[in-house]
């Protein structure tokens, strides 16, 4: 109450001319108003955004063929409406019914100006900038192929079912995806995609196929489905490796494949590794020599696998028992295959190859290159190093033994001379 009385008092105390000035407001309105039309037209408000953007980003036909307007320096179309809302602008106004509800609680909201949002423009610019930057597709490490986001090495899933026959347990891996350029009479140089994939169920069934199309996904799909139609069955020895070493070649590509024991893993070309995984081979070593043509490698490896002979076949060919010796089983002679009829020693010819590896390699001998000593081993400092560290060579074992015996690195002398141990620590 007291404040109201005070304000009343204020008005009363003002001079009368204050009231007179208020009546002169109307005269100010007349000053700078005109009704004549002004032509504010330029191409920014004449043309739609779509056309404006096209004028900035478009590349000529010839330029597009050369690959202009692609890659890092490319200008991208930005959607300037992103992050903007009707009713929210530079001046932060509250518009009931547009940017705010009409009734909040029991109160009827009124149109009013709110304090300005300083960060609004920064946020908008940030959103616009995020559209311009070239963002690389991120793949999870499980989905990733041999290299980055490239297709080779990536999984495509099983081939599409044919009728009601589904490919259960199959998985497809891309081995190669490349673009080919073809000359056409009316179109000139056109681009085609070629894909090579391998599919398999990891239990001996596998096949590879090629697909060509104008687009990469179509080429991959074609190749995948074609590979499902070309399945081959491969015998796997003990569920983990091949039956024997073999040599195989296609064109100028030569592959030497070696059988390995359990736990060795796949030590070979990445494409051969994918093929082995599709088939279900777990342990093998392969050395590719000659041409590195990927299609030739794949073809050569499949041919080599198909030309393998099982142990029973080998025993029948030789008419001799085939016996396996494993170091971990103390070289116990395990008969892996016996022929129906065994030859005696007199029936074996003198010039016959009896060595197993030589026989399965078809008398081909692998050239094993001499291993040279490491570059530092011939240097004088290496000898000094060896001499210097000779006396420490057993220390690691001793430390371990002391830890077993005392729970820490100490010796029986520590109890006798505790002061020495303390000073050292």
């Amino acid at each position: 109450m007291s404040t109201k009385i005070l304000t009343l008092g204020n008005i009363l105390s003002r001079p009368i001319n204050f009231l007179l000035k208020q009546n002169n407001v109307t005269s100010n309105l007349k000053t700078n108003f005109s009704t004549t039309p002004v032509a504010c037209v330029n191409f920014f408000n004449k043309l739609p955004a779509e056309k404006l953007w096209k004028s900035v980003t478009s590349v000529s036909n010839a330029g597009a063929k050369k690959g202009r307007g692609r890659g890092a320096g490319r200008i991208r179309i930005r959607d300037l409406n992103r992050g903007q809302m009707i009713g929210v602008g530079r001046i932060n106004m509250l518009w009931p019914g547009l940017s705010a509800p009409v009734i909040r609680g029991r109160e009827l909201l009124k149109q009013q100006r709110l304090p300005d949002d300083q960060e609004r423009l920064e946020k908008l610019i940030k959103i616009r900038d995020s559209m311009t930057k070239f963002r690389r597709l991120k793949l999870s490490p499980i989905e990733r192929g041999w290299s980055g986001t490239k297709m080779p090495g990536r999984s495509l899933g099983p081939p599409d079912p044919i009728g009601e026959d589904e490919f259960v347990g199959f998985d497809t891996k891309v081995l190669q995806l490349r673009s080919l350029l073809i000359m056409k009479g009316n179109l000139g140089r056109t681009r085609n995609f070629q894909a090579m994939v391998v599919t398999g169920n990891g239990q001996g069934l596998a096949g590879f196929g090629f697909g060509k199309a104008k687009e990469a996904p179509a080429a991959l799909r074609k190749a995948k489905n074609r590979s499902g139609q070309k399945l081959m069955h491969f015998e796997i020895y003990n569920g983990h490796t091949i039956y024997h070493d073999f040599y195989t070649a296609f064109g100028k590509t030569k592959i030497f494949v070696q059988k390995k024991n359990e736990g060795y893993g796949l030590v070979c070309h990445r494409a051969i590794k994918e093929i082995c995984q599709a088939i279900g081979i777990k342990d093998l070593r392969a050395k590719v020599e000659g041409s590195n043509n990927l299609q030739h490698i794949v073809k050569a490896f499949f041919i080599g696998l198909l030309q393998q002979r099982t142990h029973q076949q080998l025993a029948e060919e030789k008419k001799l028992h085939l016996v396996e010796y494993k170091a971990e089983n103390e070289y116990f002679p395990k008969v892996v295959a016996s022929p129906s009829e065994v030859r005696t020693k007199d029936q074996i010819q003198k010039n016959e190859t009896l060595d197993f590896t030589q026989y399965v390699m078809n008398d081909k001998v692998i050239l094993k290159k001499k291993k040279f000593p490491r570059f530092y081993e011939t240097m004088p400092h290496y000898k000094i190093y060896l001499k210097k560290y000779e006396k420490f060579r057993n220390h690691e074992k001793i430390r371990l033994n002391l830890k077993v015996e005392y729970g820490e690195v100490k010796s029986f002398l520590n109890d006798k001379y505790p002061e020495k141990a303390e000073s050292e620590a």
Partner: protein, 375 residues
């Protein structure tokens, strides 16, 4: 066991059993008391050819287990297997060689009497009394001398020159001529009873016995204690299968037979249908103690059984000779159960079960032979 006693004690007021007594009884039943061969020398019996043959046969060697993968031999990756083309004769030679290697792998650790202290004063020199406060030990480290014949003597501060005792000898031999895997100090797994028992509870019998063989000499008291506790644990749990096809099965059977506690093993043999091995076990008892009622029958039967191949699996088809031999075995075992066994009812039950199963097998194989048109 203690529960039953407690109930008895409650029901019968006249039966006065104190808690202390109860504890003693329960402990004796549950815990394992180590025993050593300190009475009669078991070596002559153990090394006699009869007993050796029986023990080896009872081991039931299965080459898949004898030549199983034990370690990676310190390699990260296993070596690549090699293959050979062999004729029949070459294969037989190779298998004969493998048999020799299997014999070496299955060579049993000797069972001998516990060692006696060495008290052998070589000379007494009063002039050297108080010469030094420390003992002097002299070791002959000539190359090529066997450890047990090595000349190791000590000169005590009191002027005596005497031969060293076994523990000092072992220590010095290990210092100068270290054996692979043997430690100067006893491993904790043998000294700490808790750790040792946890190993036994985890059924790591072969590991324990192998390590004991490396660490100790067969006539050491510690070796005999460790092995006897392991054998008793195996016997209590009837886990004989874990030691079959290993070199420790022979000493286990010998231990059980020597201490007249082989009836649980006999029961296991009958339950698994190995009647022939049961007869061999009876013959073994006869050889060691000579207290079996029909011991001579068992011995002659054992001579007949030994040439037959080892039965790793239950037979599917029987020949007439097999049936004859097995029925003789059955009779022999029956007599043994009546006269010598300490687990009569259980063994009789097992034998009855086997008899019924065997009769079915006999009918089947005879029927099959008839169907094939053989006599």
């Amino acid at each position: 066991m203690s529960l039953i006693f407690r109930k008895l004690a409650r029901n019968n007021p006249r039966n006065i059993i104190t808690d202390a007594q109860l504890l003693v009884i329960s402990c004796r039943k549950l815990s394992i008391v180590p025993s050593i061969y300190d009475g009669e020398d078991p070596a002559p019996k153990f090394f006699s050819s009869n007993v050796q043959v029986l023990l080896k046969r009872l081991t039931r060697p299965d080459f898949n287990k004898v030549f199983r993968k034990r370690t990676n031999q310190g390699l990260v990756v296993l070596k690549t297997p090699t293959y050979k083309f062999l004729t029949n004769e070459e294969l037989e030679e190779e298998i004969a060689k493998a048999n020799e290697r299997a014999d070496r792998l299955l060579q049993m650790p000797p069972v001998v009497k516990i060692q006696q202290h060495i008290e052998d004063v070589l000379s007494k020199d009063p002039a050297l009394v108080g010469y030094d406060t420390a003992k002097y030990i002299f070791t002959d480290i000539t190359f090529g001398v066997a450890n047990e014949h090595r000349f190791i003597v000590e000169r005590d501060p009191d002027g005596y020159l005497r031969s060293c005792d076994h523990d000092v000898r072992k220590r010095l031999n290990q210092v100068y001529f270290p054996l692979l895997g043997r430690k100067l100090r006893e491993p904790v797994m043998f000294t700490d009873l808790e750790k040792f028992n946890s190993l036994l509870d985890r059924e790591q019998y072969e590991f324990v016995l192998d390590r004991a063989c490396v660490q100790y000499e067969p006539d050491e008291p510690s070796y005999q204690k460790v092995t006897s506790m392991t054998y008793q644990h195996i016997d209590n749990k009837s886990k004989y299968e874990l030691l079959r096809s290993t070199r420790h099965f022979g000493p286990l059977v010998f231990y059980l037979t020597w201490h007249q506690t082989m009836d649980k093993l006999m029961l296991e043999l009958l339950q698994s249908g190995a009647v022939r091995e049961a007869v061999l076990l009876t013959a073994l008892r006869q050889d060691i103690h000579g207290d079996v009622a029909n011991g001579d029958v068992a011995r002659t039967l054992a001579q007949q059984i030994l040439p037959t191949p080892v039965q790793l699996t239950k037979p599917e088809i029987l020949t007439e000779e097999d049936i004859q031999l097995d029925s003789k075995c059955l009779e022999c075992i029956e007599k043994y159960i009546v006269s010598n066994s300490s687990m009569k009812s259980q063994q009789e039950l097992a034998l009855q079960g086997f008899r019924e199963y065997y009769q079915q097998l006999v009918d089947l194989s005879r029927g099959l032979q008839k169907a094939h048109g053989k006599q």
